[in-house]
């Protein structure tokens, strides 16, 4: 038989365990988008593998305990840094797995490595639900199943009599078939359970688990002058389908971009754009819970009726709590997705989800085109003044002067009092063009010198920056010439996937632009960022890889829509109305919803805290067990000292240093004292009693029997190979013998 056909079962198991462990770390690295976990873990596991596992030489206990303490310290530091969350737990599990691999002595240790592997896999799933995570998860499950199967063989061989440990070719074929068959059955049955399990019950009954969702790349404030770089990640954030009134998809490649508004920022102070607090009731307090598929229309009915585009938006990873709902300008209708939503709605200031649960969110908005030509500007209309409250600091004179000069050069009156309102649109275009042509786009942000206004520094010193500088400059210059303007942060949608018929918005598509008022109530979008530079940096290159990536993204969207986004309505559509849930769903819903809100939530959280405390205690217990030999020595020493001390107090020396000995000795001694038989110092007790047969023969039969039995048992105990192994029953037997002898003696007296 060839060498390959005669692989040792232990070797096969260790290899499969290693593959499963590395696979779990890989899945977590992909989920967390942090390759360092994989690199460092692979390095650590490789070292452990070469020096410990392969050579079958577990590290010394002291070394393992020391490393374990270091791991606990590192994990504690990580928890302080990242907070108590999935990431910190996963880091701890990975480190613990490395330590455990150094300590593979029994099959139990191997099993613990597999349990840690599962824990890392669950952490990965809690971290991300991306297609790659799911794909790798399926592969990892197969690896784990395989490792567990070999673990059974490994454990059986370890526990049983020495025998041949090789796995023949036929056995390997059978194992492979079995793993495939069981894996397939598990996946099939698991999928059935996945579909049949009720949804939307007990959401966050036990608080927030896993990472909070985040809309990456986007920020609802603008802080100019902050060094660093803008995100260039191509991770998808939104999927958008754009249709016209007839329901036809109007998206196409290389079309003009859609600006998707997120935060509306109207207050500028010290380089920061923020949203001013409303004098009225804050929008967040006006958020209401709307049932699924509710259509919310603009207050101006005419506008609502004039929609011409519908955006069906899938937000892949919304934030937990308040999260912005991105929509184009000018939104006139909003339709709630398939889940009820607690939506804050102001068609001008934007939309947001007040009590988001994180994860995928679906909604759709209808908007109307805001073409400049359609605006009929009344020449006699009075321009809205620039609110002083929105500019706590007046626009820097240099910035203002620059705006005036630009307008004068273009032949437009810069003074708002003299300029007709119909020229405002032209004035904005002039400034926009100036910014686009005279300044360059750069992702590299540098720190603004202390005390200097960031926008002024951009305009006159740096003359290069990212979109926030351009938007801030355009807005401030517009305000300096009397035109109300505000900065908008959100995303640009321009990447159209022809396979899915959707626009894909990525993290790198986060953008900032300006909305300015070209007529009373007429806000239009202006973007001072050089479009060529922006697209050159943010748009993916049209290479073959891009085409492949698009196919992948199509599959990923399918994954997000069908698997990650599987919800109650999807379940209903698959199972129909004939699903026999036997009332379990309604009872569960009632119970878990009570848990989620109200007193039950406190109890549940109390339970979680109790679980954490229990786990921590368990962990401390494990640590103590690791050092148990040291603790046992300490305890034994203390007990010996106490016995010696007590005997010293009563003026006698003792050879009984074991507490069990001491107790038995005390009982027997008390019995013998009543017989005036001195306790021997060196002679074995039983021999000593035989020598004292003269005294013992004077006793009645039961007493003598009891004394002899007790001494015989004690004798056995003293000469037992391992006194610690004396059972509790045995001890109680000795004690009862001695007590019986005492009673007999009392009766005899």
């Amino acid at each position: 038989m060839t060498r390959a056909a005669q692989q040792s079962a232990h070797d096969v198991f260790f290899r499969s365990m290693l593959q499963a462990a590395l696979g779990a770390v890989l899945v977590f690295s992909v989920a967390d988008q942090n390759p360092m976990y994989l690199v460092l873990s692979t390095l650590a596991i490789a070292i452990v593998w070469v020096f410990s596992v392969r050579s079958n030489r577990p590290a010394p206990r002291q070394l393992i305990n020391t490393i374990l303490l270091v791991v606990v310290v590192i994990a504690g530091a990580e928890m302080l840094r990242m907070g108590v969350g999935v990431n910190a737990f996963a880091v701890f599990a990975v480190l613990l797995m490395g330590v455990k691999m150094l300590d593979l002595r029994e099959p139990r240790d191997d099993g613990q490595v597999l349990v840690l592997t599962v824990a890392i896999l669950v952490s990965a799933v809690l971290t991300s639900n991306s297609l790659m995570t799911g794909f790798l998860m399926v592969g990892e499950i197969i690896l784990i199943l395989r490792a567990v199967v070999f673990f059974q063989i490994h454990a059986v061989l370890h526990k049983s009599a020495p025998t041949s440990v090789s796995i023949g070719k036929r056995a390997r074929v059978d194992i492979r078939s079995m793993v495939i068959a069981t894996g397939f059955l598990c996946a099939l049955l698991g999928s059935v359970i996945f579909v049949a399990f009720p949804r939307n019950i007990g959401l966050q009954a036990f608080g927030q688990w896993g990472n909070r969702g985040s809309v990456s790349g986007f920020s609802d404030t603008v802080e100019l002058g902050r060094p660093g770089t803008i995100s260039q990640s191509s991770a998808p954030v939104l999927n958008i389908t754009v249709t016209n009134r007839d329901g036809q998809n109007i998206g196409k490649e290389n079309s003009s971009a859609f600006y998707l508004r997120g935060a509306v920022l109207n207050t500028y102070e010290s380089g920061h754009w923020t949203h001013s607090a409303s004098k009225l009731v804050p929008l967040s307090n006006r958020a209401k819970l709307y049932p699924p598929n509710t259509m919310l229309k603009s207050a101006i009915r005419d506008e609502a009726a004039n929609w011409d585009r519908q955006f069906a938006v899938t937000m892949r990873s919304s934030e937990n709590g308040e999260t912005y709902l991105f929509a184009p300008w000018k939104t006139v209708e909003f339709r709630v997705g398939s889940e009820p939503m607690h939506v804050g709605l102001d068609f001008e200031r934007g939309l947001f989800l007040k009590d988001g649960i994180g994860g995928r969110v679906n909604y759709s908005v209808r908007s109307m085109s805001t073409l400049f030509d359609e605006v009929q500007i009344d020449p006699d209309a009075i321009r809205d003044p620039v609110s002083a409250t929105l500019n706590p600091e007046p626009v820097d004179p240099a910035v203002s002067k620059l705006a005036w000069e630009i307008m004068r050069e273009a032949g437009i009156e810069p003074d708002p009092d003299l300029r007709p309102i119909s020229d405002d649109r032209g004035a904005l275009s002039v400034i926009e063009t100036h910014l686009r042509t005279q300044y360059s786009y750069s992702l590299d942000s540098q720190a603004v010198p202390r005390g200097e206004d960031a926008t002024k520094w951009f305009l006159f010193t740096r003359q290069a920056g990212h979109c926030e500088y351009f938007a801030s400059s355009l807005a401030l210059m517009s305000r300096s010439v009397g035109i109300p303007a505000r900065v908008i942060t959100g995303y640009i949608a321009s990447d159209f996937n022809t396979v899915t018929g959707q626009y894909i918005v990525r993290e790198s598509n986060a953008h900032a632009w300006v909305e300015a008022q070209i007529a009373p109530g007429q806000w239009r979008t202006f973007d001072g960022t050089p479009p060529a530079d922006f697209h050159a940096i943010h748009e993916p290159d049209p290479s073959i890889w891009r085409s492949i990536a698009k196919v992948y993204e199509s599959v990923e969207f399918l994954w997000v829509r069908k698997i990650v986004g599987f919800d109650a309505s999807s379940r209903q559509s698959i199972m129909g109305g004939s699903m026999p849930d036997l009332g379990i769903a309604s009872v569960g819903e009632s119970l878990l919803n009570r848990l989620a809100a109200g007193r039950g939530r406190l109890i549940a959280r109390g339970g979680v805290i109790a679980g954490i405390v229990f786990s921590f205690s368990l962990f401390v217990g494990i640590i103590l067990l690791q050092f148990r030999s040291l603790f046992a020595v300490l305890i034994q020493t203390v007990q010996s000292w106490s016995v010696h001390f007590r005997y010293r107090l009563i003026g006698r020396r003792s050879t009984m240093v074991d507490p069990k000995f001491e107790k038995l000795d005390r009982l027997l001694h008390r019995a013998l004292r009543q017989l005036d038989i001195p306790k021997p110092e060196c002679t074995p007790l039983k021999s000593h009693l035989i020598d004292q047969h003269g005294v013992l023969n004077t006793l009645n039969e039961p007493t003598r029997e009891a004394i002899f039995n007790a001494s015989a048992l004690l004798y056995q105990f003293k000469f037992a190979p391992n006194p610690q192994s004396l059972s509790r029953e045995h001890l109680s037997q000795i004690e009862s013998c001695l007590r019986r002898s005492e009673k007999s003696m009392v009766r005899a007296q």
Binding site: A9, Q152, V156, K159, S160, A161, T182, F197, A205
Partner: protein, 404 residues
């Protein structure tokens, strides 16, 4: 009373001699049963299975709490794994048949191999990672049993596997049932089949590594051997030369004489005089450990004496054993089995010195403190001092009051 009459009288009283004679050793390795079907099936959740259930519960709570669909799927797979595990292991064991082989006599503390034949009559399902162990009951021997492992038994395959048993107590035991258990494939549930395979097992007393000079000194009273002139033997005394025959050890060749005689000759030694030795074992009813120690030491002396060609007899009237001195493997085994069959829970009989004590050497292995009345060539062994008769006093077995 002759020894035969004594044995008969003892056997009528239900003592061990009768059992010794009637217990002819069964043929080791021979099947004692046909392929048997299981008489009972058992299932239990393992510790790992319990942990797994907790993890599954945790997954369910996590999935419900976060509505994370991948967690829902993982939860579904977890449940499915439990179901598949149960179904698979049940089907695998459905068509397995087992046959246990006879057990040879063994010595306490030493390994004896137990052989089993396993047949998988299933057409489709292979058997993996199974263990075969003996089911313990009140008739079972105490000791350590290392299960027989079955890594893989394909459909329609037959396999012979071996377990190891280290008996710790001498005696005759019955092994009735054999358990075949597996946790395959995922270790969540342990499923077992109980087969009825009645067998008997004889565990002889411990063979202690006694000092080699013990027998020699006591028997020979300090001399090496008594030379015997009419036959060659195995003593160290020179007896004569003879021509080399194939099979003679090379060490026996007398090279100088062979060179001188121009042909190969070998040295023959004198045969030691096989005067009789009685091993007299006394009993201490209050101290079973000491009695066990005496039995083990007696058995060891019998074994080593027989090996040295000394006719040895057993004398333990307090325990109902009397075997006249004899030689040969069969006699040695008879002695050892007699000692192995002693039941300390039985009635104690009166002790008295062997009738032949005046003529033969008597070695008293005395468990009780009270000194026996001896005369003639009697030597006493003090059981409280293992260093006096053991090569390694620390090597005294645990059951005999040793440190391991």
């Amino acid at each position: 009373m002759s020894s035969a009459v004594y044995q008969q009288s003892q056997s009528r009283r239900g003592r061990g001699i009768d059992s010794v004679d009637s217990n002819t050793p069964q043929q080791a390795g021979q099947p004692v049963s046909v392929l048997s079907k299981p008489i009972k099936r058992e299932s239990k959740i393992t510790l790992g299975g319990g942990v797994y259930v907790l993890v599954t519960l945790f997954l369910a709570i996590g999935a419900i709490n976060s509505q994370n669909n991948l967690l829902f799927w993982l939860f579904g797979v977890s449940i499915a794994t439990m179901v598949v595990s149960g179904v698979f292991s049940g089907n695998v064991l459905m068509q397995v048949r087992l046959q246990a082989q006879g057990v040879p006599d063994s010595v306490a503390g030493e390994a004896v191999r137990l052989h089993y034949t396993l047949v998988n009559q299933s057409r489709f399902f292979p058997l993996f990672a199974a263990m075969i162990s003996e089911v313990h009951d009140e008739h079972s021997p105490s000791g350590r049993f290392e299960s027989a492992a079955v890594i893989h038994l394909g459909p329609r395959q037959r396999s012979r596997v071996t377990g190891v048993y280290f008996g710790s107590s001498r005696g005759r035991y019955q092994m009735r049932h054999v358990r075949l258990s597996t946790r395959f494939p995922f270790g969540l549930i342990q499923k077992s089949l109980i087969f009825e395979c009645p067998r008997s097992m004889m565990i002889l007393p411990y063979q202690l590594a006694i000092k080699p000079e013990l027998v020699r000194i006591i028997h020979g009273q300090g001399e090496e051997v008594h030379r015997r002139t009419d036959a060659s033997g195995v003593s160290s005394e020179y007896w004569g030369l003879r021509e080399y025959t194939p099979g003679d050890p090379k060490r026996a060749i007398a090279w100088k004489q062979s060179a001188r005689l121009q042909r190969l000759v070998v040295i023959e030694h004198a045969q030691p005089i096989a005067s009789k030795l009685w091993v007299w074992i006394t009993r201490d009813e209050t101290d079973p450990i000491m009695t066990e120690r005496a039995i083990a030491l007696g058995a060891s002396i019998v074994f080593h004496s027989s090996k040295r060609g000394v006719p040895v007899g057993l004398w333990a009237p307090s325990m109902g054993v009397h075997l006249s001195p004899g030689l040969g493997k069969a006699h040695t085994m008879r002695c050892l089995r007699a000692l192995g069959m002693i039941n300390l829970h039985d009635e104690q009989y009166a002790d008295h010195s062997p009738r032949a004590a005046n003529a033969d050497d008597v070695l008293v292995v005395q468990a009780q403190k009270k000194r026996v009345t001896t005369s003639g060539r009697v030597r006493m062994l003090n059981l409280d001092e293992p260093s006096a008769w053991l090569l390694n006093p620390d090597g005294l077995p645990e059951n005999l009051g040793g440190a391991r």
